[in-house]
Amino acid sequence: MSALAPAAAPRVAVRPYLLTAPALLLFGTLLVVPLALTAVLSFNAFDHTTGVKNELTLAHYAAILTDDYYFTVFFRTFWMAGLTTLITVLIGAPEACVLSRMRNPWRSIFLLVVVAPLLVSVVVRAFGWSMLLGPEGPVNKALALLGLGPVRFLYTPVAVVAALVHVMLPFMVIPVWTSLQKLDPLVENAALSLNASRFTALTRVVLPQVLPGILSGSLIVFGLSASSFAIPGLLGGRRLKMVATVVYDEYLHELNWPLGAAIAIVLLLANLVVMLSYNRLLEGRYRKRLG
């Protein structure tokens, strides 16, 4: 045995690299390279008459950091993403709880209902919302029946957040549901047997164990919402811009690719900072206990 071990060691060391190579290659070509190109592009100078120039400049970043317009767009993007996350937690976590208590076949049926929105194109769903919330849509007609004047939903944060919540809900329900699956169903009974009320059992025993699921769900939802494009593009209109739609404008209307790239990079960094600090804030407290 001891004579064989050193000979076998190099083979063992090579195998992990071979096994990870396909995935590394995929990520490298599809993620790292375009990202690097974007980052390089964001430092290139731009002239409205000649286009992208081969000079390096920080002017685009300076513009983003000093211009109030960009600050407004970034601020709006993050509060709307934050609100979307909050609402998906409030709806998604109880929904997952209800789901996990259902018995088959109902559980499978409702799980499918929750996931079903993912099967429909975001664009189609966005148009669905715009019909629903439009001035002649069912929501306004129902309000008219109640004697309430027509309310403008379209091209307001209400429409965008509502549609985002709808799109993002599966990304909250599924991680929470997964962590509920890992929960010993008897811990709630154990808490009850120790004189805890149902509410205390839920908040002190069940919720803390589901928190990792809520945490990963909110990271996914926040990240996807903050960089979402189709929904703010279709339901926010020309006035209610979010960062991704501004990037699109710079690329396709202004043709100022370097500025668009710079905005995209700033969004990436800002998103990263928000998510990492949130992660550290919550997960640090629970990693040790739940592993």
């Binding site: 811990v187 009974n189 047997s193 120790l194 004189n195 739940l290």
Partner: protein, 355 residues
């Protein structure tokens, strides 16, 4: 007046009776085991006492108070779950302290009582650990249930997740702890050795009904049914018919006959005779009641187990490993037994008998 009393307690799921007309009286400080195969209703009974399953009918009284319809969090009973159901996000200390916190016990007293409970289960050195860092989950669960000083401790197969050696150690420790704190205890188990070794009384259940309630020794020596004879310990069972021979009754076993000790039998009745393997002894061939050939022998460490082919069929016989040479396979032996150790069971199907 018994401390915990179940009267006619039943649980039906639709038309199916999980527990049927259960009567049980448990005295204060007693350790009672509910023993039976899976699906016999023992766990359902425990859950009705705990309040997690509502009884379809009947009453459960604790210290004279009717608790049949009380909510589980108003009963104040200590429960150790089969999976332990520890709170994985809390330290061992916080797990044990939870019940006291819910009872609003002041902090200083809480600390004292938790430490005492942890010392009782010998976990005082691990108070700051988390359950997943610990192998002694059953000890934490026990401390958590005992710290609230419950009137009754309910144990749902508390040792079934342990390996054989640890299980045996924990059995004795569990009994010691129960003696020390004196809490009335009801334990559900499917392990007859566990029930025999640590209970004051055993309740054997079968298909939702209680079939026998007795002290362990009596349960083992006088099983009332064929099922109990083989479920609690091993037994040789031989079918026969009662025959009158002068003033005495004898069992006609076909190959041989046997004087019957019991009185309430009538000639012509079908019976089953049961005798424990350790009550049989080897004698010289032709000197015992039967002759036979040793077919197989198994070494069990503290004893030898022999299978002997006789005219009554194969009999199982155990002899202590007393250092003397064991009987070899294929040896022709005589078998004898004292008449008073033969148990007579009526042959007709017993209530709730399983195929």
């Amino acid at each position: 007046m018994s401390f915990l009393k179940l009267e006619n307690v039943s649980k039906f799921y639709g038309p199916v009776g999980a527990v049927i007309d259960m009567d049980l009286a448990v005295e204060k400080g007693e350790f009672v085991s509910l023993l039976g195969p899976s699906g016999c209703g023992k766990t359902t009974t425990l859950q009705m006492i705990a309040g997690f399953v509502e009884a379809s009918r009947g009453t459960i009284r604790l210290d004279g108070r009717d608790i049949t319809r009380a909510k589980p969090n108003k009963r104040g009973l200590g429960i150790v779950f089969q999976s332990y159901a520890l709170f994985p996000h809390m330290s061992v200390f916080d797990n044990v302290a939870f019940g006291l916190e819910m009872r609003r016990v002041p902090k200083a007293e809480r600390r004292e009582r938790v430490n005492a409970a942890l010392a009782l289960v010998r976990l005082d050195a691990h108070a700051d650990r988390y359950p997943r860092e610990l192998s002694g989950g059953q000890r934490v669960a026990l401390a958590r249930a005992l710290v609230i000083e419950p009137p009754v401790l309910l144990l749902d197969e508390p040792l079934s997740n342990l390996d054989a050696q640890l299980r045996e150690e924990m059995q004795f420790e569990l009994r010691q702890i129960q003696r020390k704190v004196g809490t009335t205890t009801i334990m559900v188990t499917h392990d007859q050795a566990e029930a025999l070794s640590i209970s004051d009384r055993i309740v054997v259940m079968q298909a939702g009904r209680v079939t026998q309630v007795d002290e362990p020794y009596r349960m083992y020596e006088h099983p009332r049914t064929r099922f109990i004879s083989t479920f609690v310990g091993k037994a040789n069972l031989v079918a026969g018919r009662v025959r009158a021979e002068g003033a005495d009754l004898v069992a006609d076993l076909g190959a041989t006959k046997l004087a019957l000790p019991a009185a309430d039998l009538a000639p012509g009745e079908e019976i089953i005779l049961g005798i424990r393997p350790e009550k049989l002894t080897f004698v010289a061939p032709g000197r015992g009641r039967l002759d036979g050939t040793v077919v197989e022998r198994f070494f069990l460490g503290s004893q030898w187990l022999y299978r002997v082919a006789t005219e009554l069929g194969d009999l199982v016989l155990t002899r202590p490993n007393d250092g003397l040479p064991a009987v070899a396979e294929a040896t022709i032996v005589g078998i004898d037994w004292p008449t008073e150790h033969v148990r007579v069971l009526k042959a007709p199907a017993e209530p709730g008998a399983q195929a």
